[in-house]
Amino acid sequence: MSETSIDPITLEVVKNALASIADEMALVIMRSAYSPVVRDTMDYSTALCDRNGRVVAQGLTLAVQLGTFPTVMGYVLDELGPTAQPGDVYIANDPYGCGGQHLPDIYLIKPVFVAGVLEGWAATMAHHSDIGGIAPGSIAVHATEIYQEGLRIPLSKLVDAGVESTMLLRLIEANTRQPVHVLGDLRAQLAACRVGERGLTALIERYGSDAHAYMDELQRVAERMMRAELTKLPDGVHTFTDYIDGVGDEPVPIPICVRVEITGDEVLIDLEGTSPQVEASVNCPVGMVYAAAYCAIRGIVRGEIPNCEGYMVPIRINAPVGTVVNPVLPAACGARGVIGYRVYDAIMGALAPIVPDRVIAAGEGGPTLIAWGGYHDDREPFGTTEVLVGSWGARSSLDGLEGVSNPLANLGNQPVELIEADLPLRVERYGVVPDSGGAGRQRGGLAYVREYELLARKATLTFRTDRRDHPPYGLDGGEPGAPSSNVVVSNGEARELPTMPMKAFVLGRGDRFIHASAGGGGFGNPHERDPAAVLEDVLDGKVTDAAARERYGVVLSDGLVDIEATHALRAAG
């Protein structure tokens, strides 16, 4: 079938069919998974690839994980593509040599054969609740080399021509603190791979060899649309530097330097100048850096671009080897996500001057990861990983959102009632923090706060947070959001903990941990904010009376805007 005989309508049909298969895979994981981080937080992704291993459809899952599939598929094709056979399923999590992200993220990938011919791939990845290493949850910032982070699984056959590798499953089981969660979640991924295989097979049977022509065309359409969009942007070079706070008690900021160069219908994201890799687990394997760049560019262009790899072609990325954005052995990377989110923020910052009406001010900084682990009195292990998220930066004509996941990560929260039913934890508070959104013509989304009390005798707590010393930036005169905070209260005494501590904390019964995220950055001059909107925020307790006056120049009296006093105050300021 030639390119010219492509029927646009069949193309749309095939596109929708592929998307619905990827969604169906995602549903199967959600409904049959075991761990809270997969089943409630939904920290997993699904995709379908064509026979050349190119992503051709994405489930409605995590943007930033979806962007890593091309990297891992490259290794799969090189190593196992030639020997793939029906009934195989491949497994990998190693950042070094097979495109993994951090060790908790396990990929399960199944080649799809129809009548003995390789026709495509069903791909899944999920964040598992524990894969061993120095602290429960396997995300400890204080790991200084990957050998401290848990089980590395190089690209392997979990299922070989229909026969499951009991050996490999037992090896995994023996290396996790949460064997029931991990094996249950792997089963869910396997079920999703089978659903992907079934759906893709039906599609191939229906359309025969035309199916490939249409999948190829989807890639071309996506690339064409992305190039057309990039062409509309003015050529030029734009730079921006953002930071993560750094690790330990005396953190040294880690710069993320971005240079965005638009030339014709292509864009180069150059990360030259970014910090060398560090001896802590915040090094970010390059797959996620690519993913963050794809998401940033995708977020600022228009049009219904198909969710396939083609749109990534005109986006070129230079991530220097040996830096935090492209680490090499033996760099630890359990808490790598924070770098990925900052790459996205830095690209947005660089793009802001050319497309101010399409960018978003910095949000909460990406998900906060909190891992609890310990043993009940009968030595049964308990543990959970929470991924907290939910404050957007403002947009040029819209306030930042609260209560909505980060744009890169469509994650859910875990119901308080389920946490308390399953774990020796009590959640004391979950809600927004007044005055934490960056002031602006459009206000940044409010930070959220979550407070826990430990009910067990003791537990180990590790976490990865950020954005205290470098709060989320505002744009176009908008103020930054409020900084984040981590507090432990023990025996009535409160103490502030680092954002990225270089150790695990051991908490005792009755101790409390309180995490407040950063707030989203504002957009535009706060004195240009509609006083009526400020009043609404004050009535809702999202902005205090004092902040209305000091930051927005709005004077309220008796539940109304004092228009004259507001004019006077704004004129003076």
């Binding site: 929708n16 959600m30 409605l60």
Partner: protein, 694 residues
């Protein structure tokens, strides 16, 4: 013949109100009147009176009136619900606003989330705390409740929702808060407790359900009051029942307490009609496809019963019956028929972008201005215009000649906007538009079949609504299904479902029994309690035969989502229960272990007063009296067949025997398209059966 030989069903839609009258000799009469959005009750009663006048039936000859209403969903969609306050546990004022975080789109950084139905200023915290098993962590501080109640009194609200943490395990605190609030605000304010409307674990879903209930409560109370009064004034004194989202009906008294149950009232009616048809014709596996002017709704009927779900959001625009695309609306975790709704209907607008990508819907031309061919000012081509250009629609007969369609106008617009830019003929372009709409609707069908582990090839497609019979065969074909059924009067078939639904109510209780706590004794005691409770909600139907069905929501220990398993009457057999769960897990997810520990999370009792068996329905009676009508039209059936002179007949034209497509069967409210090669025949009940030939 009894003295009250008639039952009346009234189904309100956005544009039309459908009225059906069934007499006990099995004859059905149908009518369509315009809806009256300013006061829907007026349209309902006007329609009923008009129907009775035409048929010469007196009000006191009506044995019962069943009604499907969009009032609850419209109240939310239009943001016109009550000013509502929320009382919640200290520390959790923002549960309603934090939601579950996920949103239904990827990559859209200009996204805007829906506003909570209760603004933050009206959300109040009280000091109290229970644990997950109802254990007392902090006593209820009644002083804080009184302060809050006093503030609420000053807030001038019409409704209050009360949702405290873990109230599913013990409702004592919520009950006490209700008493104190009630004392302060008086009887006029509508109060909902989360432990009454949804005693289930997961605070956001329970809170949201209670809030929706409170938000629509005053509007539903007013509406039902007005309806009952108007019916009585019109001389119709028969008991009124209201269709709920689960496909059962409610008494007005229960509907006023639990109006959140009414949100999908209309779509449920169509599925109930379909499930009745399935039982009548012995077709146990049906896919109900109801396609009207703006949306298509799909559901499955297995063994004569619709599949249900409790994952629903009101106000989300479209409902793909999938947890994945949640976040766009307000969750209601109550029993719903598992209806997947998607924005594709006759009025769906066809658009083409600068790169030649064609889309159909979800924007709709509605009934005003409507499709281009209506000549009412519509300038964007729609699916209906494409169907007309293909020759499928009869330009002069639609709606009993109410609207004359203008094919030339459709062709000109399609040519200019779609065909010419794509370098295709008008027919090719129109056929492509049909295929695109079919692909969209196919997603709705897949959402209730393949997404749930069901193979559509095991089902017959039952196509109705004005556009279902026009597109049904192609949807069936795209899913490799072999059979389609088109019931008589497909345009008002949905309303017929009202007459074949049972009065029912479901009571649920969260038990959270872990593996070793699951005993027959524990389950039997809990079932006995909730079975007794169901009868409260069926009051007003004394003396009738009540049948209770029992279900247990089971999961593997560690999972978050349960599968519902039927529990047969009599002593509970735990071994059976677990085996049934494992079988359902295998069927749904493709794997399951008989050895892994399980939890029983909740149990449900569904009590119903069954009436379906008592009703006769003889649609053939009407068809026998129809004149046979024969004609021909030019119609286009895809590039392989092209444009062919096609036979046209009325439904009565199939009485002589099976006919082979291409064939168009024109009716007052739709046309059934039988493409080349397919076979069409009438069954014993007047349904058109179309057999797809592979």
């Amino acid at each position: 013949m009894s003295t009250q030989p008639y039952r009346l069903g009234v189904d309100i839609g956005g544009t039309f109100t459908d009225v059906v009258l069934l007499s006990d000799d099995g004859i059905v009469r149908t009518a369509k009147v315009l809806s009256t959005p300013d006061d829907y009750a007026r349209g309902v009663v006007d329609g009923a009176i008009a129907m009775l006048d035409v048929c010469g039936v007196a009000g006191n000859e009506i044995a019962g009136v069943v009604h499907a209403s969009t009032v609850a969903s419209n109240t939310v969609l239009e943001g016109l619900g009550a000013r509502t306050a929320l009382v919640t546990t200290k520390g959790f004022r923002d549960v309603l606003e934090m939601r579950r975080l996920r949103i239904p789109v990827l990559y859209d950084i200009q996204y805007q989330s829906p506003r909570p139905l209760v603004p933050r200023r009206l959300r109040y915290e009280v000091t109290e705390r229970l644990g997950p098993r109802g254990e007392m962590w902090t006593e209820l501080d009644e002083a804080t409740v009184r302060e809050v109640a006093e503030q609420i009194r000053h807030d001038d609200v019409e409704a209050v929702a009360i949702a405290l943490l873990h109230s599913y395990a013990d409702d004592a605190h919520e009950r006490r808060v209700e008493e104190i609030v009630r004392e302060a605000v008086g009887e006029e304010v509508y109060v909902t407790r989360s432990s009454e409307i949804l005693p289930e674990i997961r605070e956001y879903e329970r809170t949201s359900t209670a809030v929706v209930n409170a938000y629509v409560g005053p509007a539903i109370t007013r509406y039902l009051g007005s309806l009952v009064d108007r019916l009585r004034d019109a001389g119709i004194d028969a008991p009124l029942e209201v269709m709920q989202s689960s496909g059962g009906t409610l008494t007005p008294a229960t509907a006023r307490r639990k109006p959140a149950h009414l949100v999908e009232s209309g779509p449920a009616a169509g599925v109930m009609a379909c499930s009745y048809l399935g039982r009548l014709t012995g077709r146990r596996q049906l896919i109900s496809l109801d396609m009207g002017g703006t949306t298509a709704k799909a559901a499955i009927v297995e063994d004569g019963r619709p599949a249900r779900t409790s994952e629903y959001e009101v106000g989300a625009g479209i409902n793909l019956s999938s947890k994945l695309v949640k976040g766009g609306g307000h969750p209601i975790k109550l029993p719903f028929i598992d209806v997947s709704e998607i924005g594709a209907g006759g009025g769906s607008i066809v658009a083409i972008d600068e790169l030649g990508n064609v889309t159909v819907g979800p924007a709709s031309a509605g009934s005003s201005p409507g499709p281009v061919c209506y000549g009412l000012g519509g300038e964007s081509p729609t699916l209906t215009d494409a169907l007309l250009a293909l020759g499928y629609l009869n330009a002069t007969q639609l709606g009993s000649g109410a609207i004359t369609l203008d094919p030339a106008r459709s062709r000109e617009t399609l040519d200019r906007i779609v065909a010419t830019p794509l370098r295709r003929s008008v027919e090719e372009a129109a056929y492509g538009i049909l295929m695109l709409a079919v692909a969209t609707m196919t997603r709705a069908v897949k959402a209730v079949t393949t997404y749930r582990g069901r193979d559509p090839r095991d089902f017959t497609l039952c196509a109705f609504g004005g556009n279902g019979p026009l597109t049904g065969v192609e949807i069936a074909r795209s899913l490799a299904m072999r059979h389609m059924l088109v019931p008589p009067s497909p345009g008002v078939f949905s309303a017929l479902g009202l007459l074949f639904s049972d009065t029912e109510h479901e009571v649920v209780r969260t038990l959270m029994l872990r593996d070793d706590e699951i005993t027959a004794a524990a389950l039997e005691a809990a079932f006995a309690e909730i079975e007794a409770e169901t009868t409260i909600y069926l009051s007003g139907s004394a003396g009738a035969r009540v049948r209770v069905r029992r279900f247990a929501d089971v999961r593997y220990t560690g999972q978050a989502y349960e599968l519902s398993v039927a529990v047969p009457p009599g002593p509970v057999d735990i071994g059976h229960l677990v085996a049934d769960f494992v079988a359902e897990h295998v069927r749904t997810y493709g794997h399951g272990s008989a050895d892994d520990p399980v939890d029983v999370v909740s149990i449900r009792a569904l009590a119903a007063i069954e009436r379906t068996s008592a009703q006769l329905y003889d649609p053939l009676a009407a068809i026998r009296t129809q004149p046979v009508y024969e004609d021909t039209r030019l119609a286009y059936f895809g590039p392989d067949v092209g444009l062919v002179e096609t036979e046209v007949c009325s439904r009565a034209g199939l009485q002589a025997g099976e006919r082979r497509g291409p064939l168009l069967i024109d009716e007052a409210d739709s046309t059934c398209v039988v493409p080349p090669g397919c076979l069409a025949r009438l069954d014993h009940y007047g349904n058109i059966e179309v057999e797809l030939v592979v």
